[in-house]
Structures are given as C-alpha cells and as structure tokens.
Amino acid sequence: MSRSHRSRSAFATFLRSFLIQSSWNYRTMIGTGFGLAMLPGLRRIFSGRPEEFEAAVERHVEHFNAHPYLASVALGASLRLEADGVTPETVRRFKTAVRGPLGGLGDALVWATWLPVVSMIAVASYWLGLPGPWAAALFLMLYNTGHIGLRIWGFWAGLEAGRDVAGKLAAARFSAWTMRLRSWGVVVLGILAGAVLGGEGGLGDAGSVWAALAAAGFLLGLLVGHHVWRPAAVAVVAAIALLATWGSIR
C-alpha cells in the first residue's frame, strides 16, 4: 500500500468512521455506515475500475455490527484486504469473524467500564466543589482521550495487520485493561459515594432518613443488579408524582 494511499484516502475513511452509526437499523445494523466510511479508500483502490468499485461498495454495505469505536479495526483491516486484492469471499469471512469479538470487547471496555468510570470522576469532582463547567470539560477531555485514541489505534492496527489483526487485538490485552480499570473504578465509586454523602447539599444535609433510604437503594442495586434499575426509576418517579399531587390537594 502506497504512502499517499495511507495518508489521504485512509485518513478520509478514518474520519468517516465517526458517522458509522448514522444509518443504524435492524436490517444491516451499522453495515451501511461501514460502506459510507469505506468509500474514499475503495475509490482509491479501484481507481479506473468502476465495475469492481461498485461490487466492492455493494459488499461493504451489507449487514455488519461491532462496537462503533472498535469498528475502526475492521475498517482499517478491510481496506488493507481490498488493497491486497484478496477475494470478496475472504473479505466477507473476515468481517463475519471479527464483528462478534469487536462488539464484545468494545461493550465491556468502553460502555460498561470507561464511560461510567470517567462519568463518576466528573460527578465526584463536581460534588467535591469543582465548578460545573470544569467538571464537564474534565469529563469530555478524559473520555475522548480514550475514545479517539482507541479509534486511531484500531484503524491503523487494522490497516497495518490486515487479516492478522487478531494478533494485535490479543497483544493489546483489552480484557486485562478492562479488569484493571474496574478495580480503579471501585475506588472512584467509593469517592463518589463519600462525596455525595458528605458533600455540601448532599445526602448528609438531606437527613439520616434519606441517607438510610439511599443506602438501602445501593444495597438493592448491589444484590439484584440491572433488573432493579427500571423499577427503581419508576418508584422514584411515582414517589415524586404522589408527593406533588398530595401537596397540590392539601
């Protein structure tokens, strides 16, 4: 793959990866977004070969799904495979093989770990006295350092390794990073709980009854897990509605 190919059309493909979910649907999932992102690279690879270009576009708008950030790995690798001239069936098989792992790794690392940990850092900072705009800026900077870093790494790892990208993914040790982040996340969770309990205008100021109810809610979440989230939100909304109604008819 030539340097100019890598530097221009590949960069355009990388930038378009930020739109990969813009046509999310239950038929092709992020497949059509994947095709949109591939267009600049494919145009370059199949320059002067319109029939092959159209066929390549068609196979890249087919069904595909992965975590949106780690989909950049598949984008880079698919671009490399197309540039290497492998058969369409090989490209299809590669994409089918990587979509599951890229989805699972990304969901665990980003949605279930990185996002809540950074959110908790920002909320705890706010509760400990950091001005709101600074807390929001801290959140955006921290989160997007990881987010954009992951996208850049994934895309160039895919582009460099092609079908051997699995080795790069294994070497990156995402599962170990996830576990490590979760360990630190528990410390952050404790800091946040302490800040909400002891901070100005927090549960400590609300009174012992509210602090006890919050502790009960915490225990419920810990024991039951995600199943209790929706009922708890409904219960809070119902309590607010009842109190407001009672207040207005009193």
């Binding site: 955006l140 528990v186 404790g190 709980a193 302490g194 009174g207």
Partner: protein, 219 residues
C-alpha cells in the same frame, strides 16, 4: 431560549448519542450544562445533569438494546424547570426527565425501524455512491428531527407539569435532593456489582469512601 430553540438544541445534542461521533456531549452532565447556558441558568443545568448522570451510569447504548435517551431527557428536564419558583422544581424536573428518557428511547427504536426501510435491500438494484451518501444525509436529518420533536413534546408536557406542581411541593430542598438521589444510589450499587461485587472490592471501596468523605470535609 424559546421552545423551538431548545428543541433544535436537543436535536443537535441528540445526534451525538448514536449518529454522529459519540463524543458523549449527549451525556446528561454535558447536556445539562449546555441547556443551562441556553436558558441562562448553568448551575441549574449542572445540578439536574449530574443527578440524571447518576441514574444513567448503568445505561449503555449497546448494540440493538433499547435504552433511555439521556440527551433529550436532560434538555427537557432543564428546560422544564428553568425560571420556575418553588422547591419542587428540581425533583419534578428529574421525574419528567426520567419519563421522557424512555420516550426518547422509544423514538430511537422507531427511527431504526424507519432507517431499515431506507437502506438498500439485497434484492434491489446495486446502490450507487450517491445513494449511500444521500441515505446518510437523510438518516442524520431524521435523527435531528426526531430529537427536536421529542424535546418539543417533552417541554410542552414538562413545563406544564413542573409549573403547575412545583409551588405545592411539600418537601424542603434537603428532602427533594435526598429523594432524587435514591435512584442514583441504586445505579451505584448496580455498578459495584458489575465491577466485581462487594466482597472482592471491599478494601478499594472503603479507601474510596474514606477519600470521598475526607475530600467533602476539606474541599
């Protein structure tokens, strides 16, 4: 800011949730600040955004799952209680935001079904580059309109509910905050479970709790 202005803001912030970038400008703590600035009360926006952020800590936009939409929910919550007097405004706004988050989540499901009708089918003609680019312009535009419509409807309902009921709210400021934080505490419990549970993490949790309490006293 007018109803239409806030709706446009909601539509724009909502795009970040799925369609464009996912830089997490759509998270309640950022959306709350932006809406607070728009209505001239950033402190109120931050307060509501932080509470809703606690609720949505364990709500992830994974795959095809239906999840409450934080961006439109926060714009609706902050826009509903801006300028409203009475101690209940915060609690009522959080309640409106939680309900409207699910409306937003439902609207995302509808949009995804609609997108499914717009994307090229396997049996149809081979899609051209123009078809693909226009499809994405169209789906991004639809997502913007969806977010704006959700916020518009939410503000009509939310402003009425909060405006009518806030003056009669029976709890003081401490009780109001305590009530809305119960749901946030549930989210923290769920997150501790996700991160390995209490037994495995009790020392780290205790260290964090101690640091948090100490920080709250010192800072």
């Amino acid at each position: 800011m007018s109803l239409l202005g806030l709706s446009a803001l909601g539509g724009a912030i909502g795009l970040d949730g799925t369609s464009v970038g996912q830089f997490m400008v759509s998270r309640p703590l950022v959306a709350g600040l932006l809406t607070g600035w728009a209505v001239g009360d950033p402190m109120l926006g931050m307060a509501i955004g932080m509470v809703l952020e606690l609720y949505l800590l364990v709500s992830f936009p994974t795959g095809g799952s239906r999840f409450p939409e934080g961006a439109t929910a926060t714009v609706v919550a902050v826009g509903s209680c801006a300028g409203v007097e009475g101690g209940g405004a915060l609690a009522l706004a959080v309640a409106v935001g939680l309900v409207w988050g699910h409306v937003g989540g439902l609207s995302i499901t509808w949009l995804r079904r609609l997108n499914g009708r717009l994307v090229p089918g396997e049996e149809g003609p081979r899609p051209s580059v123009t078809d693909i680019v226009l499809l994405h312009v169209c789906t991004i535009g639809l997502d913007f309109l969806r977010g704006a419509a959700v916020v518009f409807g939410g503000l009509l309902v939310g402003r009425t509910v909060v405006g009518q009921m806030a003056p009669f709210w029976p709890l003081g400021p401490g009780g109001s905050v305590g009530l809305v934080l119960i749901g946030g505490a549930v989210s923290l419990g769920i997150l501790l479970r996700d991160f390995g549970g209490f037994r495995q993490n009790r020392l780290r949790l205790a260290v964090g709790l101690g640091l948090g309490l100490l920080g709250a006293q010192l800072l």
